[in-house]
Amino acid sequence: MNKYKIIIGLEVHIEPNTKQKMFCRCQQDHFGKIPNSNTCPICLGLPGALPYINKEAIEKIIKLGLALGSKINNFSRFYRKHYFYPDLPKGYQTSQLDSPFCIGGELLGKKINHIHLEEDAGKLVHETIDGEKVSLIDFNRSGSCLIEIVTEPVFNSVIEVIAFLKELQLIARYLDISNADMEKGSMRLEANISLSLDGKLPNYKVELKNINSFKFLEKAINAEIERQSKALNSGEKLIQETRGYDEIKKTTFSQRTKADSHDYRYFPEADLPPVELDNSEIEKIKLKLVELPEVKRKRFAEKYKLSKEYTEILILDIKRANYFEEAFKLSPNLITSIANLMVNKNLDKDFSEPAGLIRKILELTKVDYANSSDVEESISKVLYENPDVIKSFKDGKGQVIGFLIGQIQKKLNGKGDPRIIQQKLLEKLHE
């Protein structure tokens, strides 16, 4: 099967953690609520109801676009995308077509086509009530915000797809856009898969839908690749279609072919004026970005010289990464213990303050503290060696304390009590 080049493009949906839905004031968080309790005339698509844009959703998508290096459109607008389904109350989905909020961008070297905003549909629930099979509609999710990331067909293996999705998930969490949890449905995936002999894009693609966990994602894509390569090997011509994954049979099955594909009859949504954003507004959002995982990963590797595995675990949660750095500042010499106890024992969960963790480490390692004259000598030496740092401190840069403590600990071979060092150091500096 390896004679074929695998070509995959992704459509990833992320439910942002906004307070309200995309076009009404109902709650975005619909998880576990009583059916149809989180609805209003707008998200029920009642006659006469009109959409009103949720600005928080716009801010979230622009944050994501900026983080992925997309070009942010100064002018974007919404379109109506028409299709019939019982959980789509207006008979159309308000989405975007040309002029989405973000164009282009890249993640892990994989090119992104665009990122757009749209509303979600409701949910159908199939049940048997009093012996009768019925389909019920729950509109709690109807009209909630969705961010869709569409990539170019640039993935050549499932491994690349998984790496991309994990990194995207991490970025969404770092930027407080979404928890992007596949199992809870706040991240959903559609993969367009085709195989090519010559590396060029073939004239068909198979859209694989409803993949809702990382576990099934790998199996589903592999099953589809296997199906396609078998078909091609036997000389069969593959067609454009939409397929789903059967978790029990471990195969994909056809849901819809091109012949009965939708004509969405897109046209501009007249009920919503186009969104015009000037560059100063975009700059303001840019200020809200934080250090992205990839940058943090590199910095951690250089600064802390931890193993790749340790770094990855520490940066997986931005709060833990920050905790680690604070603990390090307090006791640079204890870096190995800090990392070990955080990664292997999750000890950071027991101490809300990093200082608590440090005390615990010292207790565990039963360090004999250096005596106070040694401490004072080391402080004097370090201050003598770093006149420029002292100047920065006097200029108001309090954060240099961490650096100085680190230097002092080095001279004491890590045997100084950080609290005493800090106390004495501050005394000296204020003399």
Partner: protein, 458 residues
């Protein structure tokens, strides 16, 4: 009691205890009950609600801007707890859980809502004959159309069943019934009045406006219903401050050729003379692209109709899809066609481009004139049944209406006499976007110059 025909007369009567609000409601209801079965003006009568509100008004201090004004709404405005059908069997049993913004605003301003008015189903039509609940007859002559699609909104006033009414105008549907009913009406600037809670026909063209017996009543109601509600994102709050004491009106030559009836042409000639005597200047202007207006309209409108009606999919609201009437089906098919892959560029996209050209032409004319004058329709009210088998000739009724809707400008319909057959005649004035004030001033000049007196048919 003799029914008052203006807000001023109504409110003075209430203040001086000449009559109470409850007595007013008695009188209107008496008239409705006497004539409604025959004339098919109201679809739902809000008797209980009206009396409740009237009692409130009688016990109030008479300070609200519209206290005691008996009003009615085209049945396309959602009214909480009161059936709203849009004139269609699809919604025959639909009781809305919320009210349209304008209904709330009017009721908060003291309006007594007396009922819901007949109209062409989903506002598709120019004669009221597309209503699934029977055709509204014109109170001035019941063999003739009352105008559409807000057929009940015009007839309710010219029959004295209501003091003011609200209609929607997507391509003349407020102006035509006013024109055929000897009434004033305003089609406001697109985006001046909220469309929230109004069953949509064509979202980029729909406007909401009042019908009344005087310019000043139209103005008073407009001032209550306009402005933001933070539910309709297309609403903006602007107004052009026109300090002119001398107005200049353009006569677009394209509106006075072809199918215009001689009687209307002559009547508008007289109107122009009256204005000239009042020191209003007229110049000939040209809007060459407006001749494409109705073609452009009949692409954009069905496209938006096909989209807006797709929520009536038979799953909710009761009525199944086969309850759609012929005209709705025609528009759904036309609209789906012009939006479908492979045809979008040739039809919808092109129509939108021409719409922009028309808008630009209109904008540039308003750098030269304060307003434009035009007929409302090519002929006085036509006989019922005359055009029902010829949809195209029905569509042409709206030929003079399309310009204002496509370019989003406001237009006022003004009554200006009666035809040989004793049917009302009128004309329309258009102004730049948010130039409603210019229209009110010009309307009042005409009222004064002609010593206008409100009239009802019976």
């Amino acid at each position: 009691m003799n029914l008052p025909l203006t807000i001023k007369e109504t409110q003075e009567g209430l203040k001086s205890k000449k009559f109470s609000a409850v007595e007013l409601v008695d009188t209107y209801l008496e008239k409705i009950k006497k004539y409604n079965d025959e004339y098919k003006i109201f679809l739902t009568i809000n008797e209980e609600g009206a009396y409740k509100k009237a009692k409130e008004i009688d016990n109030s201090d008479f300070t609200l801007p519209l206290f005691g004004v008996v009003g009615s709404y085209k049945d396309i405005f959602l009214t909480k707890g009161i059936r709203t059908t849009a004139g269609s069997k699809i919604l025959e049993n639909f009781i809305p859980p919320y009210s349209a913004t304008i209904v709330k605003k009017l009721e908060n301003a003291g309006v007594i809502s007396i009922g819901k008015l007949n109209c062409d189903a989903f506002a598709h039509g120019s004669s009221g004959e597309n209503s699934d609940f029977g055709t509204t007859l014109n109170p001035w002559n019941k063999e003739y159309t009352a105008g559409g699609s807000s057929s009940g909104s015009g007839a309710a006033l010219s029959s004295g069943m209501s003091l003011i009414s609200i209609g929607t105008d997507t391509c003349g549907s407020i102006r035509l019934p006013a024109n055929y009913g000897y009434l004033f009406s305003l089609k406001p600037t697109y985006g001046a009045v909220s469309r929230y809670g109004v069953i949509a026909m064509a979202s980029s063209l729909d406007t909401v406006g009042p019908l009344a017996h005087t310019v000043s009543d139209v103005e008073t109601v407009f001032n209550v219903i306009k402005g933001k509600d933070y539910l309709d994102a297309t609403v903006t709050e602007k107004s052009i401050n026109n300090k002119n004491s001398k107005f200049k009106i353009g006569i677009p030559k394209e509106f006075f050729v072809g199918g215009l009836s001689k009687e209307i042409e002559k009547n508008i000639g007289e109107v122009i003379k009256i204005y000239k005597n009042e020191n209003v200047e007229f110049i000939d202007v040209s809007l060459p692209s407006t001749k494409y207006g109705i073609s452009v309209y009949y692409i954009i409108q069905p496209a938006e109709v096909s989209s807006n009606l797709s929520r009536f999919d038979g799953i909710r609201y009761g009525g199944l899809r086969d309850s759609f009437g012929e005209e709705a089906k025609r528009r759904i098919m036309l609209g789906s066609y012009v939006l479908s892959a492979g045809f979008y560029d040739a039809y919808y996209e092109k129509a939108m481009k021409v719409r922009t050209i028309i808008k630009n032409e209109v904008d540039s004319i308003f750098t030269k004139v304060d307003a434009l004058i035009a007929p409302v329709a090519p002929t006085p009210a036509f006989k019922l049944g005359e055009k029902t088998n010829d949809p195209l000739s029905m569509y042409l009724t709206d030929i003079y209406a399309a310009t204002a809707n496509l370019s989003g400008i406001p237009a006022i319909a003004i009554p200006s006499g009666f035809s040989d057959k004793k049917l009302p005649l009128g004309f329309q004035l258009m102004a730049p976007r948010f130039g409603e004030d210019i229209l009110f001033k010009l309307g009042k000049i005409f009222e004064l110059a002609t010593d206008y007196k409100p009239k009802v048919a019976f």
